[in-house]
């Protein structure tokens, strides 16, 4: 055990490029807050970063048990960061259960900080651990710091007059203080946050500040750590930055879209993990005229948004897979009546309730085809938390321009993960022109624009434009009910052509990396980070690889088929059983290979690299089950 320290004359400060820290503990230990605070502080310092919050679906499983473990990982660096990191340099485990669930991800010789006070026989029993890992040499490969976090926190707060429970709630800030010392960071940003958060509870502000300071001083005084680290700011493009999560970015993007379009924003939503934060965020923006409607169910959420779109608003609904399933009939209605609408599906593991708090990309085929009959819908996907802002604008633009519902496929990893985001100026935002029909002269509800094939947006209340729309098949141009066989085929083809015309505005894809060569990686959504990191590492080894990351999944960019032909092999990594793969093979008749991970967790860079090496013949082939590193816990 490393508690006894040897005297070293001068402690070293080492400058390093990057570090990965994971805070883990019980759901009640405040790990998400601790992680967010650390993230905020390194972001303000100017590091590039990526985060991965990982928490259980249960609100608070029994304390100290394995299902109750919650974690927050942050990767920060002086160079570009693409992923939250495959493995961690520093693991803070607040109890034995957290240690058990997370130890496998700690690097050899990594720093392990545990709360010694929570390693009593009863704590070990709750975590189903037989022998105390602090005593059985199972942790010999790590730099272990077993600290009496509870006792030391209580000692620091003894004069505040708090009860024991309240004092113990501050021990996460003791650990946070230790990390600030370890990475040589200022406690000021967290002081500011505490003052804002507990404005009316000064005692709590004081308690947390004291606990944090005690943790910081502990490292300094005990000289437990022989070394501290310095990670200089990253060289990001100049500009104003803020740290942002995917769901917050989507919400901001929709406010921006509504402002650029000059129409009110209406969100109809029913709470569902991991999409609820979009509703929470947007409900705060009433000063922008944002209307949020917490509907009675998923169906009312989307149909109220359709009603709002009919009234001339930017209609939006947000959900996850199970909610998408409930919305499918209404999606068909939006296709038939040709109204603009944006549907956000924040994907999670399925089927059914599945893994509510874990990520997956398995709703792609549902988004593309999950409706009765021929009901094509444009589908777009963001590639990073910050990109969620831009995808919200893009989806709104397509919906309004083409009078069509548009699906955004985000996922739990993007929704809750965060990264520094370069704040755009208003001039950098795309224009979203809106034209409401007002001229009754020759008005017909399904007369189309020859280029976009969209019908006029004629909102109720406009004199002389009284007309009827509905889900029943209608005659083109007039919109009158029409069951004629040839009219139906004409309308089916028209709706398909309209969606296809969206491709007119999609820029041709330009692969990252090599423009032709041995291997093309095609992917979409949140896998962008690990693939980019793997691509860079492999290209440094001289390998010829390109990477196309699709933002538009329907319609696909027009030049994709041509790009595919420039490479010998095609690899499609996805967090599903091969859904984009199926589309690409069908559409381009290409012998693409899938690489599929369905564990509720994002790809690791090393996993993608290994697959690339296999594809290029530099590594032996393995069976799909052996493709992944052994997972922690369970």
């Amino acid at each position: 055990m490393a508690l006894t320290t040897i005297d070293i004359p001068k402690r070293k400060r080492e400058i390093i490029e990057n570090a990965v820290i994971r805070f883990c503990g019980d759901s009640g230990d405040g790990m998400q807050i601790t992680g967010s605070q650390f993230t905020n502080t390194v972001a303000l310092y100017g590091n590039d970063l990526a985060t991965f919050p990982d928490f259980p679906a249960e609100i608070r499983a029994p304390a100290g048990t394995l299902p109750g473990v919650s974690g927050f990982q942050v990767h920060f660096s002086s160079s570009d960061v693409y992923t939250p990191g495959d493995s961690v340099d520093v693991l803070i485990a607040m109890n034995p259960a957290a240690l058990k669930m997370n130890l496998a991800d700690l690097k050899t010789n990594g720093i392990l900080i545990v709360n010694l006070d929570d390693f009593q026989p009863n704590d070990l029993r709750k975590a189903q651990i037989v022998t105390n890992p602090l005593e059985d040499h199972s942790l010999d490969g790590y730099r272990v710091f077993a600290v009496e976090l509870t006792k030391l926190t209580r000692a620091a707060l003894k004069d505040l007059g708090l009860d024991a429970k309240s004092m113990d709630r501050c021990k996460n800030f003791f650990a946070l203080g230790m990390c600030y010392w370890l990475y040589n960071r200022s406690m000021e940003p967290t002081h500011g946050w505490l003052e804002e958060k507990f404005k009316s509870k000064q005692q709590l502000v004081q308690a947390n500040k004291l606990a944090m300071k005690a943790g910081y001083s502990y490292c300094e005084a005990t000289e437990a750590f022989q070394i501290s680290y310095e990670i200089p700011p990253a060289k990001l493009a100049p500009g104003v930055y803020r740290n942002i999560s995917g769901n917050a970015a989507l919400a901001l993007g929709f406010v921006a879209a509504s402002q650029k379009a000059g129409i009110p924003l209406f969100l109809g939503s029913y709470p569902i993990t991991p999409a609820s934060d979009i509703l929470h965020e947007l409900s705060m923006y009433k000063d922008f005229g944002v209307i949020t409607f917490q509907a009675e169910d998923e169906i009312a959420a989307i149909t109220s948004a359709i009603g709002a779109a009919y009234a001339g608003a930017l209609g939006i609904t947000s959900t996850s897979g199970p909610g998408m399933a409930l919305k499918t009939e209404a999606l068909g209605l939006a296709v038939a009546v040709e109204l603009p609408l944006v549907i956000c599906d924040i994907q999670r593991g399925g089927p059914s309730t599945g893994l509510p708090t874990k990520t997956e990309q398995a709703d792609l085929l549902q988004a593309l085809f999950g409706r009765n009959s021929e009901a094509p819908i444009p589908v777009v996907a963001p590639s990073s938390p910050g990109d969620c802002f831009w995808i919200a604008l893009e989806a709104s633009r397509i919906a309004i321009k083409h009078m069509v519902p548009v699906i955004i496929l985000s996922d739990g990893y993007l929704a809750n993960g965060a990264e520094p985001w370069k704040v755009p100026t208003i001039d950098e935002l795309p224009e979203i022109p809106v034209h409401f029909e007002t001229n009754p002269e020759g008005f017909l509800p399904y007369r189309r624009d020859p280029i976009t094939l969209s019908r006029p947006w004629a909102v109720p209340g406009t004199p002389g434009l009284e007309h009827r729309i509905g889900g029943i098949e209608k005659q083109d141009v007039t919109g009158n009910i029409d069951y004629e066989p040839l009219n139906h085929e004409h309308m089916v083809r028209l709706r398909a052509a309209k969606v296809e015309s969206v491709a007119n505005d999609i820029p041709p894809v330009v692969p990252e990396g090599d423009q032709s060569g041995d291997l093309l990686i095609i992917a979409w959504g949140s896998t962008h980070g690990p693939i980019t990191a793997a691509l860079n590492a492999q290209r440094e080894k001289g390998r010829s690889i390109g990477h196309v990351h699709l933002r538009h999944l329907n319609p696909l960019p027009r030049n994709l088929g041509e790009v595919i032909k420039r490479y010998k092999k095609v690899l499609v990594p996805e967090m599903n059983m091969g859904q984009l793969l199926m589309i690409l093979r069908a559409k381009y008749l290409v012998d693409a290979q899938g690489y599929n991970k369905i564990q509720g967790k994002p790809f690791k860079t090393s996993e993608i690299e290994n697959k690339i090496e296999q594809m290029l013949g530099f590594a032996p082939l393995t069976s799909p089950e052996d493709d992944f590193d052994e997972q922690a816990g369970e």
Binding site: Y241, K286, I291, E296, D297, S304, A311, I469, G471, I481
Partner: protein, 342 residues
């Protein structure tokens, strides 16, 4: 100041050129005609009317009304209409629905629309049968009814739409009958004048699949014995000779014969503004009891409950008054930011 001239319309102004596809003899024709006449009389510009419907025979209604109209999907009309009304509180939004659409597949939206008090007028065409799918029982069909899907009779207890609406805290609940044109128009005008949700059950005949559905109510000979008209401030009297009345007895109602010392003064005087919903609920349940008449008219009309769309928009105005209108550039830069210089 300019004086706004009220538009002058006739029923014809609300008719469309679309071929009506209801069966000849359907009660829907009478309802359509009444609505067209009432709309013409309301003095509201035609473009302000929107009719939203779900699925079923009744939900074809918008196609035959020369207003804005939206034929949506099964059961969802109240939800579509709620979204519309929140964005455009100035519009007159009417929902055309049936017993299957509103009470079965759309039951959830119906109750939530009513408890929120969204300013929508609902025309519930109740014919106690599924017509468009050709003859299955509905949630208002009587127990034991033999239909295509229940050849041995239904085992379901039916909904009483009035009870359901009152139980959902509806602020305006009324019942009329397709063939009582004058009463129907009068009821629709009252619904139109109501600010919040107005739920109007219209007893309607389906001459193909459930002919005579409401015969005890509509049949000229039996009518006066079987119905009691609810008129605000008037005692509840019924019978061919207007010699029977409804009297309050504790927490219950009883039928009394007028005469022998019992006069109109002993009877229950209808109060559509009664502060307790339990009163309207008592009235709604009369028809389920042997010997009691079916009440027709306005059960409940409360005007002091704010409309949902007004509450939502008021809250937005309040926040804007307090914080000022949102500034996008500021919003994007909100939270903790840092600047990187070249």
């Amino acid at each position: 100041m300019t004086t706004a001239t009220l538009p002058v319309y006739t029923k014809k102004d609300f008719q469309t050129d679309q071929e009506i596809r209801w069966c000849p003899g359907c009660g829907d024709y009478a309802i359509l005609s009444a609505v067209q006449m009432v709309f013409a009389d309301l003095g509201i510009p035609r473009e302000k009317f929107v009719i939203i419907s779900g699925i079923g025979c009744s939900s074809r209604f918008p196609y035959y009304m020369n207003t804005f109209g939206f034929h949506t999907i099964h059961g969802r009309a109240p939800a579509v209409a709620t979204g519309l009304k929140i964005v455009r509180p100035d519009l007159e939004v009417w929902v055309a629905t049936g017993d299957g659409d509103s009470l079965s597949i759309g039951g959830n939206h119906t109750i939530h629309m009513l408890r929120r008090n969204v300013g929508l007028k609902v025309l519930l065409f109740n014919n106690k049968i599924y017509g468009l799918t050709k003859g299955q029982y509905s949630p208002t069909s009587e127990v034991g009814k033999k239909t295509k899907s229940t050849p041995f009779g239904t085992t379901d207890r039916p909904f009483n739409p009035i009870s359901l609406a009152i139980g959902s805290e509806a602020t305006f609940v009324a019942r009329s009958v397709d063939v009582f044109q004058a009463h129907l128009k009068d009821t629709l005008k009252k619904a139109a004048a109501h600010k919040g949700s107005a739920y109007v059950e219209i007893l309607q005949n389906c001459n193909i699949f459930n002919d005579g559905a409401w015969e005890t109510v509509t049949e000229k000979e039996a009518r006066s014995e079987n119905i009691v008209m609810l008129e605000h401030g008037k005692p509840l009297i019924f019978g061919k000779n207007r010699d029977k009345g409804i009297r309050l007895n504790g927490l219950d109602l009883e039928i009394v014969q007028l005469g022998n010392g019992i006069t109109e003064k002993d009877l229950l005087v209808h109060d559509e503004k009664h502060p307790r919903a339990a009163y309207a609920f008592l009235l709604a349940h009369m028809e389920h009891r042997p010997g009691f008449p079916t009440p027709i008219g306005v059960f409940r009309s409360w005007s002091d409950v704010p409309r949902y769309e007004d509450l939502i928009n008021d809250q937005i105005r309040e926040v804007q008054a307090k914080r000022g209108k949102g500034d996008l550039a500021k919003l994007l830069r909100s939270g903790d930011t840092w600047e990187l210089k070249t």
